[in-house]
């Protein structure tokens, strides 16, 4: 690792630890583009072909396009390993994180289609306005609500109580679920699965005392009752959260409360 590069351009095979011999292959990406600043205001499809390696993800291919072919291609991304929730997009018709979708799993024989997530206003290329999504999130009071004096130590919680809401603590607010929901696509007023998931995280936390208020908020006509259990959200969630299950648990909690 101490070798001195002669020319800084040198890609050095011995310092690039690669796993086994990875074959390279060509992939074509068919990307839905939209530029708000050109007249016409129309979205259009554009195809790019790049060379990829065995462990490359869709995000790598998109970076290649942005860095080598067309710098104006615009998308959000940060962590590049599925934990920041920036790059939810529609890949071959389904919502996924570009940084978690391996090219080799996507049948590179056909062009891979990439579109912005549905149901949120598109700002540019794959960037959508996330504000309506976060507005719904904020509305369900996504914070611990307690009464009485703060304890001087931690609040106790058994491992079982902790386990009860574990699944929904994993949410990274990527919006893959909400923008996969056919009900959300219709008029965008539905709270959406992500907001419900985050309400669930508190409703079933033994330390929380705001459950009733949250249930009331989600009892709204744009709340849980709009869910038609289509499971698109569960399939789309990159964190493997059983989203529909969480929604159903919230519905059942409301029914129990009402009768």
């Amino acid at each position: 690792m101490t070798a001195v590069v002669d020319a800084p351009s040198g890609a050095s095979p011995e310092t690039a630890p690669e796993v086994g011999a990875v074959p390279t292959f060509d992939v074509t990406l068919r990307i839905r583009r939209y530029n708000p600043e050109v007249a016409g205001d129309e979205a259009y499809w554009e195809e790019f072909t790049v060379t990829a390696h065995g462990t490359d993800r869709v995000l790598d291919a998109m970076h290649k396009i942005k860095w080598e072919l067309d710098g104006s291609l615009t998308f959000r991304r940060s962590c590049a390993h599925g934990i920041c929730g920036s790059d939810a997009m529609r890949i071959n018709g389904r919502n996924r994180l570009a940084c978690k979708a391996l090219l080799k799993d996507l049948n590179p024989d056909k062009p891979i289609t990439i579109e912005p997530i549905k149901g949120l206003p598109v700002e540019k290329d794959l960037v959508v306005d996330m504000e309506p999504f976060f507005a719904s999130y904020r509305e369900i009071m996504p914070f611990l609500i307690t009464s009485g004096n703060e304890p001087s130590k931690e609040r106790l919680q058994s491992a079982e109580q902790r386990e009860r809401y574990d699944d929904t603590t994993k949410c990274i607010l990527c919006a893959a679920c909400t923008s996969s929901c056919p009900v959300f696509w219709t008029d965008g007023q539905y709270f959406g699965p992500a907001a419900i998931v985050n309400a669930h995280r508190f409703i079933f936390d033994s330390r929380d005392e705001g459950g009733t208020q949250r249930l009331e908020i989600l009892n709204d006509k744009e709340g849980v009752w709009r869910c038609r259990t289509t499971f698109n959200c569960t399939e789309a969630c990159p964190r493997g959260i059983e989203v529909t299950k969480a929604i159903q648990e919230v519905k059942r909690a409301m029914i129990t409360r009402a009768f």
């Binding site: 690792m1 101490t2 001195v4 590069v5 800084p8 351009s9 040198g10 050095s12 011995e14 310092t15 690039a16 630890p17 690669e18 796993v19 086994g20 530029n35 708000p36 600043e37 993800r57 942005k66 860095w67 080598e68 710098g71 104006s72 615009t74 940060s78 962590c79 590049a80 390993h81 599925g82 934990i83 920041c84 929730g85 920036s86 700002e123 540019k124 290329d125 996330m130 999130y137 904020r138 009071m141 996504p142 914070f143 611990l144 304890p151 130590k153 931690e154 058994s158 491992a159 109580q161 902790r162 574990d166 603590t169 994993k170 990274i172 607010l173 508190f202 936390d205 330390r207 929380d208």
Partner: protein, 593 residues
Amino acid sequence: MQTHQYDVVIVGAGGAGMRAALESSGRVRTAVISKLYPTRSHTGAAQGGMCAALANVEEDNWEWHTFDTVKGGDYLVDQDAAEIMAKEAIEAVLDLERMGLPFNRTPEGKIDQRRFGGHTRNHGEAAVRRSCYAADRTGHMILQTLYQQCVKQDVSFFNEFYVLDVLLSSDLSTGEVADGEPVAVSGVVAYELATGEIHLFRAKSVVFATGGAGKIYKTTSNAHTLTGDGMALALRRGIPLEDMEFFQFHPTGLAGLGILLSEAARGEGGILRNGDGERFMERYAPTIKDLAPRDIVARSMANEVREGRGAGPNKDYVLLDLTHLEPAHIDAKLPDITEFARTYLGIEPYTEPVPVYPTAHYAMGGIPTNINTEVLRNNTDVVQGLYAAGEVACVSVHGSNRLGTNSLLDINVFGKRAGIAAAAYAATVDWAELPEDPAAYVVGEIERMRDQPVGERVSDLRRELQESMDLNAQVFRTQESLTQALADIKHLKKRYGSVSVQDKGRRYNTDLLEALELGFLLELAEVVVVGALAREESRGGHFREDFPTRDDERFMMHTMAYQRPSSTAGETEIRLDHKPVIMTRYQPMERKY
């Protein structure tokens, strides 16, 4: 241009920024500016835990924690700061729990704790369970919990705003402002990604919490967006950077990718093996073996590979073996990182060892601050109203090597302190004078970049920088390799002058921002390399093969790097100075594990 006025402006909405915001927004009018949506910040990537001597599962106390921190940092730690951090750790963890953070629990329902590298009982006797955790998503939970509290407090966020300049009452960059003269902050200039508009934020206090700079390297656990913006902005405005040559390489990045597998994997019993299947850490750190501090483990791994005992077809990585652990245990404690191995390498960690190699992880150095998080402009004077906390800052609790779990602690303890201090200061002072034409610099930079019709491509320059840094300034360094790196950087900086972007639009011009971020990376890389060249010793994360031992005689001191105009007009150079290390209880000893 739009102008805003806030008592406190916090730059960065990661753990440190939001922790500060929670304190500050309750006291004075506060805005948080972040180039990412808060929940996209890289604090969310942190996995293993946050340590505090809660003694929930075994005997422990903050004094041992302080010692471990000092020793882990190879005695370059400012011990007053480390003491504060270890003491306030306990309240910091409890604060988070009371905000709702879902920690894993002990059978009694208390916060569970586990082992982590370098954390020991009674000054090194044996590994201690000090790290509080939530599976392997502790950072995610911290980030979410802090954001939740910010929603509760209705904190004002300016999301996807890039801060590109910090405004000071005098120009420090020439080095002509005398020591002792008062210098105050008056605001920041930001670029709104959505519209391309420039915003001026006038403020009494500014808190920098912009995180790390891992993207100066190619193989890194850091996000694409961790380009050291805050450090570089301070540097450009004449504020020094401290100890930048100390960069932590985390032992267990997924080979070839750099994606992190937390130390918790070893805390839970994982073992490192070389190509022959040998548990080689027994040779390098006989007492705590795989749980030795990161610099030692990373170096040992690199050494195994260098001496031909690597695994894999090219013998260029080692293996992290979890196969002896119960799958149920792995699922309960390490669900995310095992999924990384499955998703990205197609490896099943239940049955196969995972290929790993050191990955650039954490900047120990940063903007120098005192224990009240006030930014220092030299060894003693602070910039009034300017604060820094988190990875961007260097209070020097990490010295030359940060212990695992001490950073999530750092951002909470010093984030909180920064929020309180910034609000308190803002409450007592008047608005500082704004410089004339405050946005001129930023507007000029942007226009220059956008108007360049053709030129160098950002991605080429960035790749060359990252490759040179990986090759020449990584785990092992020599005078020769560092000189090469410096030459490369100088050359790249020249070429940066003619860089051009393809996207000429205003809206969501990420092309333009990548170009600006490259500028930050180049300047920071230069500071790292210049500091590393000057430090002719090996200490913590900085290992010079030509000077393989620690040299307290010459180098028991912090590096202070200043960017100053060079003799060639229009160019700058790095000038180095030093700052003494603060020692209170512990005298330097040889560091053995």
